[in-house]
Symmetry: C2
Subunit: 243 residues, 2 copies
DNA sequence: CGCACACTTGAGTCGGCTCAACCCTCGTGG
DNA sequence: CCACGAGGGTTGAGCCGACTCAAGTGTGCG
């Protein structure tokens, strides 16, 4: 574990060279890296640097210049936008294997904060951009991924426009379940690394409404609230509620 | 004006070879085409076919195989998603210069319907994809555009999560104004090619609430409702209301 | 004229928000 | 060991704004 210059609040960030290397990386086949040959992977690896963030640490901040792009190899991240008047909206949550900054923007449009201990594969944006320019099929892959994100954003808009707190919460749980499944996590118990306030800000509800709705679903034995998550007891019913 | 096979409802669609050619195209410099040299433009032009849609005509439908991508050269389009239960949500509106299908999806995730007489530059998806594969900087440009779209989607999510009908409507008008400005249309009068129901479905409101809100803004002399649009009378106030 | 369609306006209801209190867990320190 | 406080979560009472339902007003068109 080296000790280089780090994020403003030094406590929330440690650096280190990749250990097993990309070849053994657990997100090797679920992330954009899957588009690369082992040669290219080696090249990518030389650009990468593992960074660990403590919970509540900031990966990057809205409007700040985008100096790097990130691939999450461990932990969960919340992505949010702040309004001038102080209100906030949680655009989404990034999980293991998710790529942050795939639009390769000049400036970040969102803030990313660690929800748990988070490990990311960090690439200098400039270097990464150069690599992309030389590897069209990597760009292709990034673009596909961006299309997927766009689809998620559309789903989310639909959800927000759709009224009904129950519908929103049920749909949120199912979506999260689907995303976990996509990366090979199919436990009956759904981890909720984010707090109630985050869920509320994500769904356009208040924390009280989220809490009440979850409690009601629990009372009706659709879900079971457990520490750190929920157990999905009655999936058909949940799907019926969520659309 | 040739007469080839056409959309299912023949009345809403006519084909024709580009007239002035891409070089004289009015969206030449505001669309993705701006990334191309004149040589490439010629190549692109050979793939293109102008198609005219009557109002209410369908350009393409959600879930259907994406056989082509489109560049709008005239008119406005509404983009919507249908839910199994019949509810609909208007994801957004595409204006002159907008590119449809830039994620190059296998299947369309949305339905596109003409709001007015619409002319598009239509490219077979396969051929277009081949061209993109040969021209990395065109892909680059598409990807940038996708990033821009993602930003718009985030703005829209923020808007939907934010309560307050007035805030939503004001923000919608300002956003539309900004988009018109971006393509060189800076009239005081804002064209609203979409109906009240479309605005409502876009903002997660009901048609009555949209109507009432516009009426109130009119009464308070912030806007003036005119046939086919609104005149923005008190921009500072509107900006204050919309954030 | 009469119909269709888009939009407006009004009255009453209801779901989620606001405000406020309370509960529980966990870490800290006497 | 318990007291304490902080933070996250839950629960309750009342209110308010957007929805629902319903009727009315245009405007264009055959």
């Amino acid at each position: 574990m080296s000790s280089e210059t780090c994020a403003p609040d030094g406590r929330s960030c440690r650096h280190g060279r990749s250990e097993g290397g990309c070849a053994e990386c657990k997100v090797r086949f679920i992330s954009v890296c899957a588009a690369l040959t082992s040669d290219e992977l080696a090249e990518l690896e030389s650009l990468s640097r593992h960074v660990v963030h403590d919970p509540r640490g900031t990966l990057f901040t809205q409007d700040e210049e985008a100096s790097a792009v990130y691939n999450i190899t461990e932990g969960s991240v919340r992505l949010l936008r702040l309004l001038p008047d102080g209100r906030r909206h949680v655009m989404g949550f990034a999980l293991v294997g998710d790529f942050l900054g795939l639009a390769l923007p000049e400036r970040h449009t969102i803030t990313a904060e660690a929800l748990s201990p988070v490990t990311v594969c960090r690439f200098e944006r400039r270097a990464f951009q150069d690599l992309v320019a030389r590897k069209p099929h990597l760009l292709q892959r990034l673009h596909e991924r961006a299309g997927y994100e766009l689809g998620l954003a559309q789903d989310q808009m639909l959800l927000l426009g759709r009224r009904g707190a129950e519908e929103k919460v049920a749909s949120f749980l199912l979506t999260l379940r689907g995303r976990y499944a996509r990366i090979g996590l199919t436990s009956v118990t759904l981890e909720l690394p984010m707090g109630r306030q985050d869920i509320a800000d994500h769904l356009g509800l208040t924390i009280e409404t989220v809490s009440r709705t979850l409690t009601r679903l629990d009372r009706e034995k659709v879900i079971l609230i457990v520490p750190g998550g929920v157990r999905l007891l009655d999936l058909p019913r949940l799907e019926h509620l969520g659309g």
